[in-house]
């Protein structure tokens, strides 16, 4: 520890002549406090974030909020680098796969006491999201937005093949039939994209088949469960019948780009990509609820939350800001931007209306069937190997069942290391 101090002194002395030492301490003179708020989506949500901060400072002139944008790919690397040094942004975006790790290692401020004291009503947010950010009975985040998955389809391709548009009555069989009719190798068009992405694709079908990814007590993998395997086989079957491009092709050419350029007729994707499809020129697409599997309907629900850094120097001010972020007013700003579905109850309508061309109501209608995004304390320890394993399973000449069963053992081993 003394060494660290020494190093810093040296570094300070070394560079002092160069640019002078400025302090990163937020508490400036005159009692004004500066908070840093970190996020990762500038293109879709940057404007809404700035608007929210502007509104907040109107009522809280004594608090200045600095926005810190980091592209998604480097967001977590940067956050962990910063937090390892004992300083991170005061308030930041959090997602489901990371919450367990951050909360269990003490990086986040538990909010339960403050919620109780200020009588914040968590009933205003979808329950599965509130639960996602609860660990060992403590609340760590206030839901910011949520997303569900829908069946996107290209109307022009459907019309050309004479196939009826998908609707709420569709089942897996309808998807298979339609995919067969829509696939046209001569034009390079595939009926559907069976990519090995968890949230958008195979988690949904696992749930629809009655399977599970992780047991409710978060101690056991579901990948050796026959129903789970059936959910994976749905995609493998489409791949084997060449109704989807291969996983390799979709690695070279992002399936989102393929759908946008008319090379995929159907595509499972989240509400967060709606804005992107809405503005793509020459794409005549719409969206329907996910088709039902053998055990009925299901969609993954996931959402981000705003959290407070445990070692923030200004917990009171951070909590003030967090409350504002969770308020109806802040959620309305998000809704009107159209980028995401706000988490706050009753505001979904303004999001649905933000893109009249699309049947966004499909995402909201699925809420009763929504299943929480599967997580554990250290999701990353098994989520990466999971993507690797399932990607392999979906590749040509692989046996899904064998790969899934082998992965179940890997995942169980990772889960047994969690304390």
């Amino acid at each position: 520890m003394t060494g660290k101090v020494w190093a810093l002194v040296c570094a300070g002395a070394l560079v002092a002549g160069l640019a002078g030492c400025s302090s990163s301490d937020g508490a400036g003179s005159g009692g004004k406090v500066t908070l840093t708020y970190a996020y990762w989506d500038e293109e879709n949500q940057g404007a809404a974030m700035r608007k929210i901060v502007e509104e907040f400072t109107k009522t809280h002139p004594e608090i200045e909020v600095k926005l810190q944008f980091t592209p998604n790919k480097e967001y977590w690397t940067k956050l962990q680098t910063a937090a390892a040094g004992g300083t991170a942004p005061d308030v930041f975006w959090m997602n489901g796969p990371r919450i367990g790790l951050y909360a269990s290692q003490g990086a986040l401020l538990p909010l339960s006491d403050r919620i109780a004291k200020d009588k914040l009503d968590l009933g205003k947010y979808p329950k599965s999201l509130v639960d996602l950010y609860t660990l060992d009975g403590k609340q760590y985040g206030i839901p910011k937005d949520f997303d569900t998955i829908g069946l996107w389809y290209n109307k022009d391709l459907f019309d050309a093949a004479g196939v009826k548009y998908p609707d709420a009555s569709w089942t897996w069989d309808d998807v298979r039939d339609a995919a067969k009719k829509l696939t046209d190798p001569a034009k390079g068009v595939h009926g559907i994209g069976a990519m090995a992405w968890p949230q958008e694709l195979y988690y949904n079908t696992i749930f629809q088949a009655g399977g599970y990814v992780i047991s409710d007590d978060r101690k056991k993998s579901g990948y050796d469960d026959p129903a789970t395997i059936e959910g994976l086989k749905f995609w493998k079957d489409l791949l084997d019948r060449k109704l989807s491009p291969t996983v390799q092709q979709m690695t070279d050419n992002d399936p989102i780009e393929m759908f946008k350029s008319g090379k995929l007729a159907m595509w499972y994707d989240g509400s967060y990509d709606a804005a992107q499809y809405n503005k793509t020129e020459g794409l005549n697409a719409d969206v329907a609820p996910l088709p039902a599997g053998p055990k009925g309907k299901a969609t993954v629900i996931h959402g981000l939350a705003n959290v407070i850094y445990a070692k923030t120097k200004h917990p009171e001010q951070a909590w003030e800001f967090l409350r504002f972020l969770g308020s109806e007013q802040a959620n309305r700003i998000q809704a009107e931007s159209g980028a995401v579905i706000p988490a706050y109850e009753g505001l979904q309508d303004s999001w649905v209306k933000s893109m009249p061309k699309l049947n966004l109501q499909a995402f909201i209608d699925q809420l009763p069937d929504a299943r929480p995004y599967p997580v554990s304390k250290n999701t990353a320890a098994w989520a990466r190997p999971e993507t690797d394993a399932i990607t392999k399973a979906f590749s040509e000449g692989q046996d899904v069942e064998a790969v899934a069963r082998a992965f179940a053992a890997t995942m169980n081993a990772a889960l047994s290391q969690e304390k």
Binding site: C10, L14, W197, V247, M250, D252, T391
Partner: protein
């Protein structure tokens, strides 16, 4: 000039003064290395020392480090993912040596007496060296595309069926090595050209009087005298190969089926430290890699005595 000349004469005449001056050097010595030693010490050396310490601890993302002795090392040596990454890393290191004969060939050809357009060729061969790695990665990702890539199109012209080079687990590793070699050829060729120019002309003349043809001359004269350059380049290639990271990080997108088959020690280190939050464990990985690099470099320096000829 004359001052210097006179002083030189005096210096030669008075070795005793010289020695006395040397005795005071140490103050100046420390003063002159101070800025660099401080900078390197703070930004580089101290982190290395820290990492060695942390490799014996369980250092989670945000908590304090707790001493756990050799447990990280035990796990490093038993984790099959590390064995695979190490194998891949060795393949990168070994295959990146393949670029050396190519670079020597380019250098030898560019050194042909009376050849014109040398500087044009040199510029072209050098373009990949100066291009930003992030750009190189993008260009090659696109060239390797299994549906619309130029590589597959060119192969199809000669009747060869291509593939998705970097999404195919059986080709991805080699596809990445090829990019690495492609970016290095120009750099290495320049080093070899300098080495070739330093070879005295009369040695060739002597060889040719002995009746050696141009090919014999190359193997009897050129190659042995070029060996110091070859040694330098191969040490660098191996170190770079062992620290392979950029291309893997930049070229393999989410959900690439070849990810496991291209993972290197450094990219795995990055995953463990920054994505899974196992920093103590990752530090142990880095220390092991450091030891391997050091060992290989020492071996290379030992073995060089057998094949490197210093003129």
């Amino acid at each position: 000039m004359s001052t210097v000349g006179r002083a030189a004469a005096r210096a030669a005449a008075r070795p005793a003064t010289r020695r006395r001056l040397r005795d005071r050097d140490w103050v100046w010595g420390y003063a002159m290395i101070a800025p660099l030693v401080l900078g390197l010490g703070v930004f580089y050396l101290w982190p290395v020392v820290q990492s060695v310490y942390y490799s014996f601890t369980e250092w989670t993302l945000f908590g304090d480090a707790t001493w756990i002795g050799l447990r990280n090392y035990a796990e490093v040596f038993t984790d099959p993912a590390n064995a695979r990454a190490l194998r891949n890393t060795f393949v990168y290191g070994a295959l990146s040596l393949l670029g050396i004969p190519l670079s020597i060939a380019v250098a030898a050809l560019l050194g042909t007496r009376g050849l014109k357009l040398v500087s044009l060729y040199r510029t072209l061969y050098f373009l990949p060296v100066v291009t930003m790695p992030a750009a190189v990665a993008m260009i090659w990702t696109w060239l390797y595309n299994g549906d619309y890539g130029l590589v597959d199109y060119l192969l199809s012209l000669v009747g060869v069926q291509g593939t998705s080079w970097i999404a195919n687990p059986s080709t991805a590793l080699y596809a990445l090595v090829a990019v690495g070699v492609w970016t290095q050829i120009g750099y290495n060729a320049v080093i070899f050209m300098a080495g070739l120019q330093a070879i005295p002309r009369h040695l060739y003349e002597a060889a040719s009087i002995d009746g050696a043809g141009r090919v014999r001359q190359f193997f009897r004269v050129t190659l042995p005298l070029l060996s110091p350059s070859v040694f330098f380049v191969s040490v660098l290639s191996v170190i770079n190969g062992l620290q392979m990271f950029d291309l893997v990080y930049l070229m393999l997108r989410r959900g690439n089926p070849a990810r496991e088959d291209t993972q290197t020690v450094v990219s795995l280190f990055f995953t463990r430290a920054f994505e899974e939050g196992a920093k103590g464990y990752a530090a142990a990985m880095a220390v092991v890699l450091m030891a391997i690099t050091l060992l290989l470099t020492v071996v290379q320096f030992r073995v060089q005595k057998r094949w490197v000829h210093y003129a």
